[in-house]
Symmetry: C2
Subunit: 268 residues, 2 copies
DNA sequence: GTTCGACTCGTACGGTGTTCGATTCCACTC
DNA sequence: GAGTGGAATCGAACACCGTACGAGTCGAAC
């Protein structure tokens, strides 16, 4: 899960799958693509903890350690899998729609992706996101916000704000779904089953307890969807307000070109 | 890291530290509070992976398995530690300031807390957040947004949107800091050291490469801070816009009282 | 036919969380 | 003071984990 540091020449060097030359791929046996594919299948089906090199090897019909010929270590494998899912994200070309539609549809596709691959949320931020698909995604997002009218650093700020919201808001949804899978309960069944526990926790806070009491009867899925929509709308409204403000006052506030370029060297 | 399911009576039952009676605490030796304190020290100093029961036991001057008398398992221990850090979060009383100041200062205190305890970000969403401190925090946040004028579900939506943004935007900052700690480099040194890698990744995307080239010279810390401020302002602006809209049109849009209460049984 | 690189894999090392049973210790009763 | 029972500790063991290492297999080139 960590960056590894090699002594190469004299200087420290940060390693990533994408900075190494891959092994020659002429072999008839194992294959990097196949390894990644099978790893993702295991991850999707059973989660991050379930992926072990031994289990993956078994699934591939090979020894666990054979994998290490094609991939330096488990972290590199996860880097590859992560970039694979970045490839699933779609960004509508902002020139063919509004920037709001482009940003909004991206947010929904990211949410959908995180549902399909719940393990991703635990990797974002710990595994470097500088694979080809991640890079491609970033250029497209940048284009969307450029088309919206954001200039300089604000373009990056807007994109990272959007991604941060989606990642953050989806996190509890994912853990909810994981729990559903583990218990075999439906959303509303799980809500009902969890209620006594919540009730006990909220005892002593009457106003919270009263609120939670209402929650027992709701439809969880639609409420979550409304929650997502709510925050997304707020965020886009806020971005739009900033654009309007900048349009009326030509000198942008937060982009001081003399002092600062931005910090994000890739999707972290 | 998972909810455990016990057969209690006939019904399935979800366990959490907070639903069990704690062991009697009359012993002179180990002590739950002491265990949690030492675990947090280890977590803060060396991260989530560094916390093992054996190392914790060594640190406590006891056998690793002695801990299991006071705590059911490692997950419960993490639940306890997580609730402890929730206690560090401050929410200004909205009646004494504006709701914007209250929300904003909460966001900053959450960011600060995540910096002090980087391991928390990997726990939020996987460990149930229904401890006393988490509950207290939620009532205070609810009060803030109630004071702002949010009613019904919108109150929860607003709170979870804010927390989602802070968690999401802070995630890459945390991994950046972790990397700084591991390499011993300062922010700008790390930025410079990472640049060749980023440059290589962006090759083939001239507009992105040009952008990244600028990034090499920036001050990372201030840029990140500006990024946080940018997104937070957008979000609060968006919330405010919604309040104004609701004020002019008395029937709120997203809170349909006939269909839905909300889904969040505690901070996940 | 030999050689050499690509590739596979069994074994081993040092770790992990947790169970179990044996053990120690102490406050209490008789 | 002897005895008892529960609280608390802990060593050993189990089934895993990631991966380093070296021996082995195989196919193509010479």
């Amino acid at each position: 899960m960590y960056y590894r540091i090699y002594a190469w020449s004299v200087k420290q060097h940060f390693s990533s799958v994408w900075t190494r030359e891959p092994r020659t791929a002429k072999s008839p046996g194992l294959d990097r693509a196949q390894i990644v594919r099978e790893a993702m299948a295991l991850l999707d089906a059973e989660g991050l903890d379930a992926l072990s090199m031994r289990r993956l090897g078994a699934r591939l019909g090979s020894g666990a350690t054979s994998i290490y010929w094609h991939v330096a270590n488990k972290d590199e494998l996860l880097e590859l899998a992560l970039d694979e899912v970045y490839g699933e994200l779609t960004v509508l070309d902002a020139r063919e729609t509004t920037w709001r539609d482009s940003a909004s549809s991206f947010a929904y596709s990211m949410r959908q992706m995180l549902f399909s691959h719940p393990w991703v949320i635990n990797l974002v931020g710990t595994v470097p996101g500088i694979g080809p698909n991640a890079i491609l995604l970033m250029t497209r997002l940048a284009a969307t916000f450029d088309h919206a009218g954001f200039r300089g650093l604000d373009q990056d700020y807007a994109a990272s704000t959007l991604m941060a919201y989606v990642a953050g808001i989806t996190m509890p949804e994912i853990s909810w779904r994981t729990m559903m899978g583990r218990t075999g309960l439906g959303s509303n069944e799980l809500n009902a089953a969890l209620h006594p526990l919540v009730e006990k926790a909220a005892a002593g806070h009457p106003e919270l307890a009263a609120r939670y009491a209402e929650f027992r009867e709701i439809d969880v899925e639609t409420t979550r969807a409304l929650n997502f929509e709510f925050g997304l709308t707020c965020l886009l409204d806020g971005l739009e307000a900033r654009l309007n403000r900048a349009a009326s006052a030509p000198a942008p506030a937060s982009a001081d070109p003399g002092a600062t370029p931005p910090p994000r060297p890739g999707l972290q």
